[in-house]
């Protein structure tokens, strides 16, 4: 068919690749995978949990062998200088010029890890349908230790080390991927309340190579993963954020705001927040106290910094110790959902977090740990929190408890909800606006628009669309 005249190395192609969106939709619609049955995933995870030694023990800071409080600053650092540090952060927020954001100032401990890691999922077609290689991975902070993870999770230190672990073959797929095989590739932020300006490279790369079938890995369709996203503590945070960046086709006829209007609203939110953040020594952080086993807030709110000792492996067992951040209670992250002329919209919040690279990112309507606000009168509690907590069961479109990153956070769990709220006004309060899931998906092509909690909810929305509630 080809005339053979065009140079083989140069070809102008359409700027948008429609075929990939169709392949994504097909995988999402495929509930029976070619390689594994969904019902067997739980049993496989339990089996892998038994196959590994994995013991996590809380220890006092004094028993940390590989970590120490740095002289002078009191920062918690690894003896090698690698991995991450626990430092202090001083945040001053004075929101103007509209005057609707109060002045706030606080200090807190924060995890600093100024290197970009890779969260990569390998994809491959079986029977003409895209499958994704998910790993059964242990992490010390997970309440159930082992969860479904991306194919690889690698810090820069990991993947540049001469001595490489079991990821050696799989990480190579993400190192210099063939541009024609990249489905997702974007830097996304992590928790801005716990991390100082952390971002990771979220990737999905397709392969046509044979991939060895290892015990800790399973190929699953997006439809299968959607089912699993309805279970508690099963799909880990790193998998959820990568999945949130998948470009499902947008079938809705439009949105309340055009894309240009949504971006303009966001620009206004970024501009009206004035947030100055300084790193400070951990030892000097005001409002927090250091004990034998924990650094905690004076009123017992937010989180603690604790230490654990870990013993892990299957054939070869390794020991290490490390600090973890342990939130004080179960969090709530929820989008209110409203159909506008038949098109579902969610109420997004332009939320400031001290650790964000740039002022605000789009967050769930409600994102908090209710216990931190229990002492406040209703009018001082976070907007819409009571709407979410008091929602009748028939208004709850989606609900599951998910864990945050188990390599840095201990028992950090949140209820993720999608709650019908057709009675919430079309003109929401300042700092909130309505956007469609399709608009949010388009924003995940770029970094620093959606925060990690909003991305988890977006992954859940994709899953809810793929498998409507009660439709198992």
């Amino acid at each position: 068919m080809s005339s053979g005249l065009g140079p083989p190395t140069a070809a102008v192609r359409p700027r948008e690749d429609r075929a990939t969106a169709d392949r994504v939709a097909l995988s999402a619609a495929t509930a029976r995978g070619a390689r594994s049955r969904t019902e067997e995933v739980r049993a496989w995870l339990a089996e892998r949990r038994r196959a590994h030694v994995f013991e996590v023990t809380r220890i006092p800071f004094a028993e940390l062998r590989q970590w120490r409080f740095e002289e002078g600053t009191g920062n918690l650092v690894h003896r090698s200088g690698r991995f991450f540090t626990v430092e202090g952060m001083h945040v001053v927020e004075s929101d103007g010029p509209y005057g609707d954001g109060p002045y706030q100032e606080w200090q807190q401990p924060v995890v600093r890890q100024p290197e970009v890691g890779i969260l990569g999922i390998l994809a491959k077609e079986f029977d003409g349908v895209l499958h994704f290689l998910m790993q059964a991975k242990m992490e010390p902070g997970n309440p159930n230790l082992l969860q479904l993870s991306p194919t690889v999770q690698a810090t820069r230190s990991n993947y540049t080390r001469a001595h490489r672990g079991t990821d050696v073959k799989l990480i190579d797929h993400f190192f210099r991927p063939d541009p024609d095989r990249v489905l997702v590739d974007v830097l996304q932020s992590e928790q801005g309340s716990w991390f100082y300006r952390k971002s990771n490279r979220n990737m999905i790369v397709e392969t046509v190579d044979d991939v060895p079938e290892l015990d800790d890995f399973r190929w699953l369709t997006l439809g299968q993963i959607a089912e699993l996203l309805h279970e508690d503590d099963l799909v880990n945070m790193n998998a959820r954020t990568v999945l949130s960046c998948v470009q499902y086709p947008d079938t809705s006829p439009g949105a309340l705001l055009s894309d240009a209007q949504l971006l303009s609203w966001f620009t206004g939110e970024r501009s009206r927040h004035d947030i100055r953040v300084e790193r400070v020594p951990l030892a000097s952080v005001r409002g927090w106290k250091q004990g034998v086993e924990a650094i905690e807030h004076e009123d017992g709110r937010y989180f603690k910094v604790v230490a654990v000792s870990v013993r892990a492996g299957n054939r070869e067992v390794v020991d290490w110790d490390q600090p973890l951040l342990e939130p004080v209670g179960l969090g709530v992250s929820a989008f209110l959902v409203r159909e506008i002329e038949g098109v579902p919209h969610v109420l997004v919040h332009a939320r400031a977090e001290g650790g964000f690279l740039d002022t605000v990112e789009l967050a769930p309507t409600v994102q908090c740990t209710p216990g931190n606000h229990a002492h406040l009168t209703p009018e001082h509690r976070p907007p819409f929190l009571d709407t979410v907590l008091d929602a009748r069961p028939e208004r709850i479109r989606y609900e599951a408890v998910h864990s945050e990153e188990g390599g840095r956070f201990l028992n950090a769990r949140s209820r993720y909800l999608l709650v019908d709220a057709d009675d919430v006004p079309l003109a929401p309060p300042p700092g909130y606006t309505w956007a469609t899931p399709g608009q949010l998906r388009a924003l995940t092509r770029h970094g620093h628009y959606l925060n990690v909690e909003a991305r988890t909810l977006l992954a859940c929305m994709n899953a809810t669309a793929a498998r409507p509630r009660g439709g198992q």
Copy 2:
């Protein structure tokens, strides 16, 4: 026609607004404005230059009355604590893991102004064609003092002050704009080699109100502004960056890389650069020396920090003094241009600058001050610099000298060029890739993709498309 059943406050609209792109194209194609003739703009600018008192005098630092070197740090600060500061910056760049970026470490003075200003152009239809309200504005650092500027240039301090100047009415258009009237609204970076993480809100807002015709303002079409962009030192940097964000329709059939591939390449470039930047006291900056009238590099390279005294006004004359950064030579910013299957592409460079918010932004193929590299052997000079400097006249698609921001920089001028280079390979060296002007325009809907020099060239490309060379 309407059934009258829909709620009047809610309407789902298409996510993309095609009508605006058509109106932009019409304005670009309109060489004769409804309000002013293009040929008269130069005379009007000269007349405004005469109408104002504007005297700029270099002074030694000791004669600064409103600024002082802060005790302890030596930072240059305003006595009120407002406006901006001149501080130090320590940059460490260690690019891996691909190993093609060398380790670099340096210190330098830098301007810090951690507030978001507004650069706003007001738009209005006359005879069915969009016109843009441009101001004849004096700035102390401009070589010719007065240039064509946005309708308003306001720092946050300016527009939140109780006491407001002549901009009072015009700035209100940009304060809480009607979402249906916003044509451009995005936060964009400024010079990362001279500013520490500076960004401004670039806006174009349409009005249907009557706007008083003031002596310092003229309504011009995009076609008229395109002609003026071919003149030296006429359209100021702030006008150029706002104009670069105008969403002209993309008429080309595609690109060498799809948008997803271009974004993936960019993510890879951001990931492979590891840049740590610390603010340091100006007094401690290594490699720079402080004299009576200038802080300068020990080898006389890059720029100087100097001080000026300004006397300005027309009816009411005000005096002030301030520091300015003065580059040591004429800069060069150039895109190499190559047609691929008939579609023009430019060679963009993922360039690290110490003052960027996030590692790299897309920059011109060549962006440097040649004098800073004159002492180096050819193989150590910036890639493609000689291609640009040696280009025969017939290969030069566009050339003009433009000034950088005259409120902070003194005589900061660069030759901006578009140079035909059909012999440059389709597979360029690491850190470079081919992209179409349409792709770059789409990226200016978001911040921190294109640096300010690339945005000036994008505005020039839009102008070249609107008025082909020699077509006056």
